[in-house]
Symmetry: C2
Subunit: 184 residues, 2 copies
DNA sequence: AATCGACATGTCAATACTGTCATGTCAGTT
DNA sequence: AACTGACATGACAGTATTGACATGTCGATT
């Protein structure tokens, strides 16, 4: 009677709801922004989880391709499960983010060390923010709701997050430099 | 020869670097914003990890209190390890965030369902943003670098993140409503 | 025809983590 | 003196995840 590891299964349902895919293609999706910012998983977790979802009837193999590939699609039950999960109250989701942890721990360091990290964050956030902003701009202006639009909302989300991180790091640098200038 | 589970150990080193604490107090720290936004862990992970850190000489018991409590402090080696971790290049840290995953999966849903979720996000982000903004405002204006200031940078970070989420969700609602108004 | 790289899936042992149960202490109340 | 709730740590079984290894296919070069 397990129903843990819920997040991975729902991530898979979500991806398959947008478009049927093989395990390999799902793995590639996790190697991109989805895995980088929302939920990471390797193929060794994905394949067994797909098998479990198929066993529960939430997905089904709807095609076979070259090199033994199997294309999975969500079943109506799978879509219902996904919907109920996304709509369900947030309560307290699992959170693990090494980058954010680093930011939390910044205060534990020497201000000089913290500044080094902050300057790197400023640079990195500017790059990632610009990349995602470009992604959004290049995407079609209207949201073709439901199909190809997957990732458009997410890209805008990411762009804004990085813009916020960028502003924060600059603010933090100013604060630390000001504190260093006038010793107590 | 393991050196995995790095993040938890560094979170502990960071907390102890700010101030010596017992396992119980560390557990409470994880029950707060640290656990909610950066890295979650329960006492059943924390105690064994503390023992391992002590074995490796990165922390040490520097006091014993009532009810069998042991107060841990970082050793110089522990601080060096922490410093090198925070300063080390980001490469690709572990990321797991159920809330962000939900946002990624929004596009997989009916626009009507997505709107429900987005409106809840607007509300929640406004609340959390306001709470953290208040936390920052109530904190001392200058950063007493190194000691009591822990959490000040982090609180501002969180406040800005939620402000960004708030803006994003409002933007997304407008987009979806506009798309619904003019059917293709 | 051999080679190579991307495609595609899988096993397995080791490690990590969660939830549940268990145990005991101490301070303040009743 | 019994009770209660917060303090404080720990064991353990079940589940999840990772990293290393393994296997084979197909298309395009060489």
């Amino acid at each position: 009677m397990y129903d843990l590891g819920m997040s991975l299964s729902h991530a898979l349902l979500g991806l398959l709801a947008v478009e049927p895919r093989s395990g390999y293609e799902l793995t590639k999706a996790f190697a991109g922004d989805l895995g980088r910012y929302a939920w990471q998983a390797g193929h060794t977790s994905i394949y067994p989880e797909l098998a479990r979802l198929a066993e529960r009837g939430l997905v089904a193999v709807t095609g076979e391709g070259a090199r033994g590939s199997r294309t999975y699609s969500v079943t109506p039950e799978g879509y219902a499960e996904l919907r109920s999960w996304v709509l369900s109250p947030p309560s307290r989701g699992k959170v693990r983010n090494e980058e954010v942890l680093r930011m939390f721990l910044l205060s534990a360091l020497d201000p000089a060390d913290a500044l080094v990290v902050l300057r790197r964050i400023v640079e990195h956030a500017a790059e990632e923010g610009a990349r995602l902003r470009k992604l959004v701009d290049d995407a079609p202006a209207a949201i073709p709701a439901g199909s190809a639009g997957f990732g458009y909302l997410a890209a805008e989300f990411g762009a804004r997050q990085f813009e916020a991180v960028h502003g924060w790091a600059q603010w933090a640098i100013e604060k630390l430099e000001a504190a260093a200038a006038e010793p107590a």
